[in-house]
Amino acid sequence: MRGNPYVPKNAPASDGMPDSVPPGKTYEVEVTVTWSQASCPGQYIELSIINGSADNGTATVAPTQITATSKVTVTGGDQTKPGNGGNLKIQAKLDGATVKVESAGFTVCAHPLDWSDTLAGGSAAAADIDDPRIVGVVVQDGWDSDSGTFGDLSETEISEVVDGGPSISPPFPAMRGGGSNSTYLTGGGLTQDTHTIGRPAAGPGASHQFRQLSIFKCHRCGAVDKVQPNSGLTITHYVFDAGGGHWKHHVKKVGAKVTVGAYTSEAGTANVTSLDHDLP
C-alpha cells in the first residue's frame, strides 16, 4: 500500500514502504472472496476499518458490502499519532456478523516529495555570500506533502545527503570529498541551505560539483531513510576567466537525477545561479 512516491494503486513492493495512505487520499485494495460452497442468496461480506481512534488515526473503506472478489478503496482520514502506526486494519465479516479475516495493519500519514530551491530573499543579491574568506549563495528550500497539505508533514523529518569528489586545488581549497548526511530536521518547517566554499584562487579555471538528494523518516508509519521523490540536485562551483585575466567565481544549483550511496532520486526543481564573485 502507498509506494514512494504515493500512488493510488499497484504500489511496487520494492519501494519497501510500510503500509500506509496519506490523509484525504485513496488506495485501491483487492479483497479476495472465496466461498467454501455456493453462497446463499443475500449472503455478503461486510468490510470496515477497525481500531480507528484519535491515536491510531481513521480511515474508511468503500464499498462496505461485497459478494465476490472486488477492488475496494481505502481513504485516509485523521493521521495516526507517532507510536501507533500499523494498528488500522480492514476487517471482513460474513453477513456483518462473523469475523472472517483482517488485513495487515496500516497507518494514515503524509510524506514529503518534490524538493525545490530558489534564491533566498528572492534575488541573487539578497542571497549572495561574498566574504573575504568564503563565497557562495543561500537558497530557500521547498517541498510538498503527498496529502496536498503541508501541515500534515509535522511528524516527518528530512535529511539531506550530499556527496562530492575531491576538489581541484588550485583554484579551490583542498577538499578530500566524500559523502555526508545533514541532521534530520522536521519536515513541517522549511529550511535554507548555505552553499559556500573557501574563497578560490584567481584561476586556473575549474569546477567542483556536489550531488544532493533528500531522505525522510516518518514517525507515524515508521519509515526510515526513504528517498524523497524528486529531490535530486547538483551544486557546482565554477572558477572562470571573465576576460582580460579577470577571474571570477559563481555557484549554480540545478535539478538533476542523482545517486548518492544507495539512494537515487529524480530531479528536483532548481535553477539558481549566484552573483559573480571577483577573485581572489
Binding site: V138, T183, A262, Y263
Partner: protein
C-alpha cells in the same frame, strides 16, 4: 561571582559598536548594528572539565521582523579564540559539510537565545578566570518593504570562570542534562547533546550512552563516545551496527575503522540483510576494503537487488574474485 560574567556580557556589547574590525568585517558590522545586536556571555562559574555554556542572544533592533540563519551547532560560522596562554588549548574544529537550517524570525524588539558550549573548541587546562574572543558570521534578512539580506560578522570578548570541582560534582553536572536529552523540542535536546559530547573527561561516558537510544542523537553519541574509546564505549558503538538509520550505521563503521576496533566479519555480514539498502551499500564498501572470498555466498543475493547501486557494488566486489 556572577558579576564577572555579567561584565563580560556588557563588554561584548560595547565591543560590537566600538571594535575596529578588519577590513572585511567593517561594512557589515556597521550596517547591522542598527538591525541586530549579539551578546555572548558565560554567566556562571562551572567546574573544570564540565560543559562550559555560552549564551548567544540576538536582539532585533529594527522596526521590521528580521530572520537569521543560526545553525546549531555552528562550527562553520561561530569561532572562538582564547588569548590567555595556559588557560585553554584550541581543538581542531571539524566544519559542518552541510549547512542547512530553519531561519529564525525575530520580531522587532524581541530576542532569541541559544546556548553553545566551549568544549567543542577548547580543552581547559586549569581553574580560574579567562577571556574568550568570539567571531560570529550570520546571514541576516530584514523583511521591510524590499527584503534585504546580508552576511553580518560580529566579534567581541566575554569572560568565563572555571572552578575546581570533585568527580561527584562533575557527575552531578552531567546527570542534570539527562532530562534535556529527551526533550520533545529539538533545540534543548541538541543543546544537551552538545553540552556532553565534547567534554574531555571519561567520567562523562555513562551520560553519553543514553544518546544512542534517543532519536536523532545517535550519531552525536557515537562520535562523542569515540572520544573516550574505552571498552564500554567500543561495545556501545559496535551495538549501533544493528540500527535502521544508515547515517547511524555509517557513523559506527567510521569510528570502528578510525579507532581500529576489533570486529568480527560476521557483524558486518549482518548488514547485508538489512532492510535499508544504504546499510547494505555501506557493508559492501566495508567488506570490499578488506576483501575475502568467504563473503561471496553472502553477497550473492545482492547481485539481484532491486536497488541498482547495491547491485552494482555487489557485482564489482564479486568480480574481483573472478
Amino acid at each position: 561571582m556572577n558579576m564577572r560574567g555579567l561584565t563580560g556580557t556588557l563588554a561584548a556589547c560595547l565591543l560590537l559598536i566600538e571594535a575596529e574590525p578588519c577590513e572585511g568585517q567593517r561594512k557589515e558590522t556597521k550596517d547591522m548594528s542598527d538591525t541586530i545586536t549579539v551578546e555572548l556571555s558565560s554567566r556562571q562559574p562551572v567546574p573544570l572539565q564540565a560543559p562550559v555554556p555560552v549564551s548567544v542572544t540576538l536582539t532585533n533592533q529594527n522596526s521590521a521582523p528580521v530572520s537569521v540563519l543560526l545553525p546549531y551547532p555552528n562550527p562553520n560560522n561561530l569561532q572562538f579564540r582564547c588569548p590567555i596562554q595556559g588557560f585553554a588549548t584550541a581543538k581542531a574544529v571539524e566544519p559542518d559539510p552541510i549547512e542547512r537550517t530553519a531561519p529564525i524570525t525575530i520580531r522587532p524588539g524581541q530576542t532569541y537565545s541559544a546556548t553553545y558550549y566551549l568544549n567543542r573548541y577548547f580543552t581547559f587546562l586549569k581553574a580560574g578566570d579567562g577571556d574568550i574572543d568570539y567571531k560570529l558570521r550570520m546571514f541576516v534578512t530584514v523583511s521591510a518593504g524590499n527584503t534585504s539580506s546580508r552576511t553580518a560578522t560580529f566579534s567581541g570578548r566575554f569572560a568565563v570562570q572555571l572552578i575546581s570541582g570533585s568527580e561527584d560534582e562533575l557527575r552531578n553536572v552531567f546527570v542534570a542534562y539527562a532530562p534535556q536529552l529527551r526533550a520533545h523540542n529539538r533545540q534543548p535536546k541538541v543543546e544537551a547533546a552538545e553540552a556532553l559530547a565534547f567534554v574531555d573527561t571519561p567520567l562523562v561516558v555513562p551520560y553519553l550512552l543514553p544518546m544512542l537510544q534517543i532519536d536523532n542523537l545517535e550519531v552525536i553519541g557515537i562520535h562523542a563516545l569515540a572520544r573516550h574509546p574505552g571498552r564500554e564505549s567500543q561495545q556501545a558503538i559496535k551495538s549501533m551496527l544493528s540500527h535502521a538509520d544508515s547515517a547511524v550505521v555509517g557513523a559506527a563503521l567510521e569510528e570502528i575503522e578510525r579507532l581500529h576496533m576489533p570486529i568480527t566479519r560476521n557483524e558486518v555480514h549482518k548488514l547485508l540483510g538489512s532492510s535499508n539498502p544504504n546499510n547494505q551499500w555501506l557493508a559492501l564498501g566495508w567488506l570490499a576494503a578488506r576483501p575475502s572470498r568467504e563473503d561471496l555466498p553472502l553477497i550473492a543475493p545482492l547481485l539481484n537487488s532491486p536497488n541498482a547501486p547495491v547491485r552494482e557494488r555487489a557485482r564489482a566486489y564479486s568480480d574481483r574474485f573472478q
